[in-house]
């Protein structure tokens, strides 16, 4: 056995039984021993070894884990032109923040003028009415009346087409005239209308060259965020072989320094009732496709209510300021029916819940299932946790549920939702991970990329500081400590994926996955957490520096 010894300024193991160290011995992709140069000596005496001092002045942590993001969706979006309210640091470009209607129009105009090929379809993502005001087909036509322009709203709630785009994607048909969620004069396709439009764009979006390019960008983004394991919750976007083959082509090679756990959606998207005859057999059949780096376990994802960015979450009284109510993505009775099937088969169920009524439904169903067939260690996980009540968090703890939160909501939406959606009290307490930690619930953070940047340190920064768009703190009592935030992106994330025996801490016997930092999260000003430079990662013992 040939050993490699990595020496570091400090190793934060995230193992409470040995919290810090300076040396890690690695062989064949596994951690052999963690300690000091003196304590590891017996191993070195017995085996040939090399010493790697690359990290001697750096901080080594367990490889970061994001248990909930969407590679296929990212691959579809990253090749588009981002015009976004927040700045984005992407592998191939920096996107500045665009925050007003006028600046949105100016930026779109600039992009249109910059395209060399007059026939290129211009697809842009990131539009959100709360920052960018109103757009419509005439406006887009005034930017170009010959080039197809498609505007994809930030939350995938709606799409806008200009006249050439409607023709290009064959969406100007009579049959859309009277669809209540398609408005041809404004070029606006909402919800069910959007699915029709997205379907029409499908072949363009999954065109192999484009999709592969998007996956390469996603791969770079995941690495640059310091992730060595990610969870893909819902699996493929369009559920095609083309997609699956592309995923394999990009993830499986040895130069991809992370692995992907696939968690398929247990119901067809949008909760359509045409269910599969045998969901368990279907899940098993999907799992057979897996490989070592792109694999399935006994996990499945279900949905309760709608999207958070689209204000489609189901909210309990007093509801929204404007009186609207969100939508169920699954009919509640169907959700319960499917959850029971997977519960009784021993699966780990992940449930998308954005509003407190969505959380309530999930907990009601969990309580019922526990009553019917008690399970220990079931790992039922509430995903996103947009809105919730403290009492629901306590109930979740009692029922054994876990939490995977999109805490980034607080930063991008906290202040907007205070002003325009649900008011300050509930907006400031969105993604209440502070309460989750107090209740002792294993809690993790995720990006739901591209809903948030694929950067665990950024998620940790939001969890610790809860700073909104303007820099003000929202919900100070829901902030967590740096240590808790670090656990959330390492050990607890591994736990939610059911992989805590293999990854998540730096411990003898686990995979040699590390994230190497230029500064120590436990030493810097907590406000600087997101700015810590990442040298790169080690994946199964092999170093992968980040090349920018």
């Amino acid at each position: 056995m040939d050993l490699t010894v990595f020496n570091a300024r400090r190793v934060h193991t995230m193992n409470p039984s040995l919290p810090t160290a300076t040396s890690v011995v690695v062989a064949d992709g596994l951690i052999v021993e963690v300690g000091t140069p003196e304590s590891i000596q017996p191993w070195l005496d017995a085996h040939p070894h090399t010493v790697d001092d690359t990290f001697a002045d750096k901080i080594v942590m367990p490889g970061f884990i994001d248990p909930h993001l969407h590679p296929s969706l990212a691959a579809t979006l990253l090749p588009t032109h981002f015009i976004t309210a927040m700045a984005w640091d992407l592998p191939d470009r920096q996107v500045p923040a665009t925050r007003s209607h006028d600046s949105y129009v100016a930026e779109l105009t600039r992009i249109e003028a910059s395209l060399a090929d007059p026939d290129e379809v211009l697809i842009t993502w990131g539009f959100h009415e709360l920052w960018h005001g109103t757009i419509d087909r005439p406006l887009l036509d005034s930017i170009s009346s010959t080039r197809p322009i498609v505007v994809w709203q930030r939350s995938f709630h709606e799409l806008f087409f200009n006249t050439p785009a409607l023709a290009h994607f064959d969406l100007d048909q009579r049959r859309f005239d009277a669809h209540p969620q398609i408005d041809l004069p404004t070029g606006r396709f909402v919800e069910t209308g959007m699915f029709i439009a997205a379907g029409a764009m499908g072949p363009h979006l999954t065109e192999p060259g484009r999709f592969l390019h998007g996956l390469e960008l996603t791969k770079a983004a995941v690495h640059q965020g310091g992730q060595t394991t990610i969870g893909d919750l819902t699996g493929t976007q369009f559920d095609t072989d083309v997609e699956w083959d592309a995923l394999r082509a990009v993830i499986e090679p040895d130069d991809t320094p992370f692995r992907v756990q696939m968690v398929p959606a247990g119901m067809r998207s949008q909760g359509t009732e045409a269910g599969r005859a045998d969901p368990i057999a279907w899940l098993a059949e999907r799992a057979e496709r897996g490989s070592e780096k792109l694999f399935f376990r006994n996990h499945v994802k279900l949905f309760t209510d709608g999207g958070f960015y689209a204000q489609m979450m189901r909210v309990q009284p007093p509801g929204y300021i404007d009186g609207h109510q969100g939508e169920w993505m699954s009919p509640p009775d169907k959700f319960e029916h499917m959850a029971r099937i997977f519960w009784n088969a021993g699966c780990q169920i992940h449930v998308h819940c954005t509003g407190d009524m969505g959380v309530e439904l999930a907990l009601e169903v969990l309580a019922k299932l526990q009553f019917e067939r008690p399970r220990f260690d079931h790992r039922f996980t509430i995903e996103h946790l947009g809105l919730s009540t403290p009492e629901q968090i306590r109930r979740a703890a009692t029922l054994g549920a876990l939490i995977s939160a999109n805490v980034y909501y607080v930063h991008e939406l906290g202040e907007r939702y205070w002003a325009d959606s649900i008011g300050h009290e509930r907006a400031s307490q969105m993604a209440r991970v502070g309460t989750a930690v107090r209740e002792g619930i294993p809690t993790t953070l995720h990006s739901d990329f591209t809903m948030a940047p694929a950067k665990p340190l950024t998620s940790a920064w939001v969890a610790v500081n809860r700073v909104g768009e303007s820099g003000a703190v929202l919900g100070p009592d829901e902030r967590v400590s740096v240590h808790d935030a670090m656990k959330m992106i390492t050990a607890d994330a591994a736990y939610i994926l059911g992989m805590e025996n293999e990854i998540g801490t730096i411990r003898s016997g686990k995979k040699a996955d590390f994230t190497v930092l230029e500064a120590d999260p436990y030493e810097v000003d907590p406000m600087d957490l997101a700015d810590i430079e990442i040298w790169g990662t080690v994946f199964e013992g092999v170093p992968f520096p980040i090349e920018r």
């Binding site: 359509t272 939508e327 169920w328 009919p331 309530e360």
Partner: protein
């Protein structure tokens, strides 16, 4: 060439109300009408084995000419295929799933090319509906669906006391669910109600309309229906016709037939306030005479003794008199004579 327009009716309602029982009843009592029935799941439909002529995956063909299919993924495509087929059915009945369709449910009530939405029949469990409307997860949607109904079928009426039905009537009114109401047992909706007219898709009730009363009042309501036929040699200016149609009184439930305009001959389909004119190709669209006998399945495009006049059927409800409406649909005298 005119595409025949196939009427589409949505059957909606919360769990256990009896949608599938009603659909089964429809199929079994189609009375010679060729229906296509689209359901989410065959399992509960329980079609009598004797009625089944052929079964192929998603589709059951029945001996009485009806067809039953599961909806699958792309409802729009299925509906278009049916409408565009060489031998389209007389009517389509579509089962809406649960209460959570929301917008999808609304989308089903629009006029897709080749289809005309008749409206939504919402089936209600007489015993359970008030509690269902209080369900904290879906209560608001249950109520929304009731308000959107064009006909309320109060099923399992045999399981409740008349006093309960009275309470239900009052409760429907109080939540703004003011569609005609028909109590049923085992989803046995009378054919003249299902296939009849008078309840079809309504606009919001005009302020002067009276409340819908209880039980058998649906029949009484239907009894205030009147119909009339107008035949006219005159020719309409297209724009003037549009203005006239837009200002017909609220009680006009339907107008259909052929109308001659200065720019051609058209099929007119009007339901409530919404109307459409589709051009008729030469050689088609000669109305058979007489037109008045069968209001429901009259094949306006079939061959028969020729009549090149404007020929329209008007159906009105409540206090509105169909005859006077029909008279108002004669083209103004100054128009040129028909070609």
């Amino acid at each position: 060439m005119t595409d025949p327009v196939v009427p589409l009716t949505v059957i909606a309602g919360y769990l256990g109300a009896g949608k599938t029982t009603l659909l089964n009843h429809l199929i079994t009592n189609a009375g010679g009408r060729r229906l296509v029935v689209l359901v989410n799941d065959f399992g509960e439909l329980n079609i009598d084995a004797d009625l089944i002529a052929d079964h192929d995956g998603d589709t059951y063909a029945l001996t009485n000419g009806c067809v039953c299919c599961t909806i699958g993924d792309d409802l729009g495509e299925v509906l278009q295929e049916i409408a565009a087929s060489d031998d389209p059915p007389d009517e389509i009945y579509l089962e809406a799933s649960g209460v959570t369709d929301g917008a999808r449910f609304a989308a089903l009530l629009t006029d897709w090319h080749g289809l005309a939405a008749r409206g939504a029949i919402v089936v209600v469990d007489a015993e359970a509906i008030m509690e269902q409307a209080r369900d904290r997860f879906v209560g608001d949607m249950v109520e929304r669906q009731l308000r959107a109904a064009d006909l309320l079928v109060v099923n399992k009426a045999d399981l409740v006391e008349p006093a309960h039905l009275e309470r239900l009537r009052a409760w429907f009114e109080s939540i703004g669910a003011d569609a005609p109401l028909v109590p049923t047992t085992h989803g046995a909706l009378p054919a003249e109600v299902v296939f009849g007219t008078g309840w079809e898709r309504r606009e919001p009730a005009p302020p002067h309309a009276g409340p819908v009363a209880a039980n058998g009042e649906a029949a009484a309501h239907l009894a205030t229906m009147s119909s009339a036929v107008v035949r006219d040699d005159g020719v309409w200016d297209r724009n003037a016709l549009a203005r006239t149609l837009d200002s017909l009184p609220d009680g006009v439930a339907r107008v259909k037939g052929f109308v001659n305009c200065s720019n051609g001959r058209f099929v007119l389909q009007m339901v409530g306030r919404r109307w459409r004119l589709d051009p008729v190709a030469p050689g088609h669209g000669d109305s058979p005479a007489p037109i008045g006998s069968d209001l429901n399945g009259a094949d306006l495009n079939g061959p028969g003794p020729t009549s090149r006049q404007t020929e329209l059927v008007v159906i009105a409800v409540g206090g509105t008199d169909a005859s006077s409406v029909a008279e108002g649909l004669r083209a103004p005298r100054s128009a040129r004579p028909a070609r």
